[in-house]
């Protein structure tokens, strides 16, 4: 595909603000009347809280408010499994658990007050390793585990996990394929290894910060350092039992996330404080606090066993992964699922038994850090792959090339893989690294490959608007954590689709009240998912522009060209119409279109007006009431006929078989006719008592079919209205309803 903006080097739209210090990060916000918040975090990894006394702290000068578990709903909330509470109540579960939040006129006053809060802990044995936490006699970290709930789609799976009855198990995922034992039985060589990896932090340069501002209606606006503004809204709503209409989340410039900002943090705490004190509240984490409470990479223990044939074919693999999820489950179910598919590697393995468990410990909540679980699992799988090659005395590159997936191969879950370029990538990488030749003293060359799922999560949406001056506004829910997706790539897509210079595009992003929904800037998905949404929105705008321009330039849409924010007919760029002019003229062309479609109504109105004017002049001939009734009746009748014809046309287009339509319409006519003939107005007074429905049905059917058979003399039995009904049935039936409809459609329809 030929492109003029996408794929070129452009300056991102937010760069000028960022190089001048004007870009506003959360910590830079200052609102009138703002108070400053500080957290009291647990200093124990696992301890019972025996006493909590805030009286001295509350008296400290400059303290505005202190909130603890007593001030907020005690309901559990969380990313997927609801196992978090806003403030520790009876127990702290990791070094960093939130016990209280203090708001002060200054950050210093708030910090002094935090230091004055009296706490009485009873330390409990801390479970700092998954092996210890899984021991049957280990202490249960979450006493309420059995009553925990999840988001609805995971409820069934969670019950299965609970049913395993394993102490401190938070989640478990599996992939099973083929017959793993049979695979091992056929193997010439089996290699079983154990790997473990440690915790790691994402450490974006910007520490997390939150500002929450209440408004008098009980709504709260939250500015926060997040990759997932809509997720924050949803979790805050659950934690505080607020409707989403009461929460607005804005992610301004975000100073890097790398996954550490895609979980719920202190947003609900700050929102609760803001609503309580009725003033804006700001919390900026110190680096140490940020480290203690961030969501590091899961420590992992990985047992991996593979069976191979002498020729290098991978036959079977069994993997057991245990991930340390820390004090809460967070996005652990996602990590468990990812690690399962990652551990199969980009290899064709017919027989698989993979399981990945997340386990509670007294550590920070481990969660998403850049490609969650990929470094841990790929380290284990690729080290194992090298060792397999070594065990078979094969070249590691040749061993990989023998087993890697190719286009249209099946993945571990039998997904058909598309756009697979791994073979080419590996071959080229090996060539460039002079694979096979010695790299020289003090140097080594290694080879590894891996895969990653993208386009994950739910959808993205976008709004593209042309301003009156022809500039373009892009509204996207996607957060901008620095990758340049929102202020670079998405804007480029708009520029490409609408052919406007990038400098004439503005972006508003990540505001839950102003921008359309987005799953979040996670898993490298923004350019793919939000990008497609933006492209579709821009394409829709483009099509509207073209249609309007076609009318204005009296040309076919196919002959129009978009360029530099203008539309022109191929070959005559000098007569280009700017988008702004098209948009400005849009309303009038809409009026014309409406008039064209509804001219009959206007014609009737004119007739009615003439008749009424006539009444004003010759009022003595007819009474006002009569004129009014006549005009109204003419109007209703004409409108009905027009609508009826339209309905008829729709019947013709409906795709119902003509024969069925014909028979159906005859039956319909007979039933309607018989009903009309049962009306008192249709029968002369003397015949009322002797007229029954079977007579009515017979007469109506006979009339519709134009047979001429009667059960009662038409002249004496029916009133003029009844006779008119019979006449109408004969006319409609005789002419044939299809013929009638078609002719009417031809006569009247084409004019409409």
């Amino acid at each position: 595909m030929e492109t003029s903006v996408v794929g070129t080097n452009v300056a991102r739209l937010d760069a000028p603000d960022k190089v001048t210090g004007q870009a506003s990060y959360v910590a830079d916000l200052h609102l009138p009347g703002m108070v400053h918040a500080k957290l009291l975090l647990s200093k124990h990894a696992h301890a019972r809280i025996k006493g909590l006394d805030i009286t001295r702290a509350r008296e400290y000068p400059g303290v505005v408010e202190i909130i603890t578990w007593k001030d907020v709903p005690s309901d559990y909330y969380g990313e997927l499994v609801f196992d978090q509470q806003l403030f520790a109540k009876d127990k702290v579960r990791f070094c960093g658990d939130v016990i209280a939040l203090v708001a002060g006129e200054t950050a210093k006053a708030a910090q002094e007050a935090v230091n004055l809060i009296a706490l009485d802990y009873e330390p409990l044995p801390a479970l700092l390793d998954t092996e210890d936490a899984l021991k049957p006699d280990a202490q249960q970290i979450h006493e309420d585990y059995s009553s925990f709930r999840t988001i609805p789609p995971l409820a069934g799976m969670f019950e299965e996990v609970k049913a395993l009855g394993i102490k401190n198990l938070a989640w478990q995922s599996e992939i099973n394929k083929g017959e793993v034992d049979a695979g091992f039985a056929q193997a010439d060589k089996i290699l079983e290894e154990r790997y473990s990896t440690d915790m790691g932090q994402a450490v974006p340069l910007e520490p997390r910060a939150v500002v929450a501002a209440p408004n008098p209606s009980g709504k709260v606006t939250i500015w926060t350092t997040t990759q997932v503004p809509f997720g924050i809204r949803s979790h805050t709503a659950r934690a505080l039992k607020l409707a989403m209409t009461k929460i607005r989340v804005i992610a301004p410039a975000v100073g890097g996330g790398f996954g550490s900002k895609c979980q719920i943090g202190f947003e609900p705490h700050l929102a609760a404080m803001a609503l309580k004190v009725g003033r804006p509240v700001k919390l900026v984490l110190e680096r140490a606090e940020d480290q203690a409470t961030a969501n590091p990479r899961h420590p992992a223990r990985i047992c991996i066993k593979s069976g191979v044939k002498k020729d290098g074919t991978l036959l079977a693999r069994k993997i057991d992964i245990v991930l340390d999820t820390g004090h809460c489950s967070s996005l652990g179910p996602v990590a468990a699922g990812f690690s399962c598919f990652l551990s199969c590697g980009p290899y064709k393995i017919a027989n698989l038994a993979v399981s990945s468990a997340t386990v509670y410990t007294n550590k920070p909540s481990c969660s998403m850090v850049r490609a969650p679980t990929a470094p841990q699992i790929t380290f284990a799988v690729e080290s194992h792959t090298d060792n397999l090659a070594r065990a078979l005395n094969m070249d590691p590159l040749a061993f990989r090339l023998k087993n890697i997936v190719d286009e249209r191969d099946y993945g571990p879950t039998n997904q058909v893989l598309r756009s697979v370029s791994l073979r080419d990538t590996l071959t080229q990488a090996a060539q460039k690294a002079n694979w096979g030749s010695s790299p020289g003293p003090k140097r080594g060359v290694g080879l590894a490959c891996g895969w990653w799922g993208t386009a994950m999560g739910q959808g993205s949406a976008a709004t593209v608007v042309i301003n009156e001056d022809g500039t373009v506004r892009l509204l996207t829910g996607a957060a901008e954590q620095g990758s340049g997706s929102a202020y670079g790539g998405l804007a480029q897509i708009v520029a490409e689709e609408l052919q406007v210079p990038l400098t004439r595009i503005s972006v508003l992003n990540a505001d839950t009240d102003a921008t359309p929904w987005d799953f979040g800037a996670v898993g490298s998905r923004t350019m793919f998912n939000a990008g497609h949404a933006v492209r579709m929105a821009a394409a829709e705008v483009k099509s509207k522009l073209l249609n309007m321009a076609a009318g204005m330039l009296e040309a076919r849409v196919d002959d129009l060209v978009l360029s530099q924010g203008k539309v022109y007919v191929k070959g005559s760029p000098d007569k280009a119409v700017p988008y702004g002019m098209l948009c400005a003229s849009a309303p009038s062309s809409q009026y014309l279109k409406y008039l064209r479609e509804n001219w009959t109504d206007f014609a009737l109105m004119v007739v009615a007006a003439i008749v009424l004017a006539g009444y004003a002049r010759y009022g003595e001939v007819l009474s006002a009431g009569a004129i009014y009734v006549i005009v109204t009746q003419i109007y209703i009748l004409a409108a009905l006929i027009i609508r009826g014809v339209n309905v008829n046309l729709r019947f013709a287009d409906s795709g119902i078989q003509p024969a069925r339509l014909l028979v159906g319409s005859f039956v319909f006519m007979c039933l309607v006719g018989s009903g009309l003939l049962m009306l008192p107005a249709a029968i002369t007074v003397g015949e009322w008592t002797r007229w029954h429905y079977d007579d009515s049905l017979f007469t109506a059917t006979s009339a519709t079919c134009v047979t001429g058979l009667v059960v009662k003399p038409t002249g004496s039995t029916f009133t003029p209205f009844g006779q008119a009904v019979i006449l109408g049935l004969i006319q409609l039936g005789g002419l044939g309803i299809m013929m009638f409809g078609t002719v009417m459609a031809m006569m009247v329809g084409k004019m409409l």
């Binding site: 300056a11 760069a15 000028p16 001048t20 210090g21 910007e206 520490p207 410039a253 110190e286």
Partner: protein, 155 residues
């Protein structure tokens, strides 16, 4: 009780009150609203708070505000003139050296301190000058390219 202090920042005078240990960063961000200078760690590791004091790049988070008395302080807000970006700022924009942007004010101030004293530095000198500035988006190559492009055009 605060100590009265007059500071010269970006060519303007500001009057404020500080405690003996108030840092220059606290004065800039909290008292004067000059939030272009960022705080990444608060302990002199990351360089996000780099400003110039008498032409010297310093970590404002460690620099006592009182020490700046009588000296010329330049922050990121002081570089653009009349809506025109400073050549370093322009280069950072054009070379794609900006990602999340949090390290950029400090990075540009370190680069300015370098170029003011040494208009045509070698790559090693550039690397040394920004050694105290961390970029977590790992954009060093483009940052160095941007600084180099200004250095050459200055030759």
């Amino acid at each position: 009780m605060g100590i009265g202090l007059t500071l010269r920042i970006n060519g303007k005078s500001y009057r404020t009150e500080v405690e003996p240990l108030t840092t220059l960063l606290e004065v800039l961000r909290d008292d004067l609203g000059l939030t272009g200078t960022k705080e990444g760690c608060g302990e002199g590791d990351c360089g996000a708070c780099t400003v110039l004091v008498d032409g010297q790049a310093v970590n404002a988070c460690l620099f006592p505000a009182l020490e700046a008395r009588g000296k010329e302080v330049v922050t990121i807000e002081g570089l653009a003139r009349d809506g025109r970006l400073h050549p370093l700022q322009q280069a950072f924009v054009e070379k794609g050296a900006v990602q999340c942007g949090f390290c950029i004010p400090g990075m540009i101030m370190s680069a300015k301190a370098l170029l003011d004293g040494n208009p045509s530095p070698s790559d090693d000198e550039i690397k040394l000058a920004i050694a105290g500035n961390l970029c977590r988006c790992t954009g060093y190559i483009k940052i160095i390219e941007a600084i180099r492009s200004v250095a050459r055009s200055a030759c």
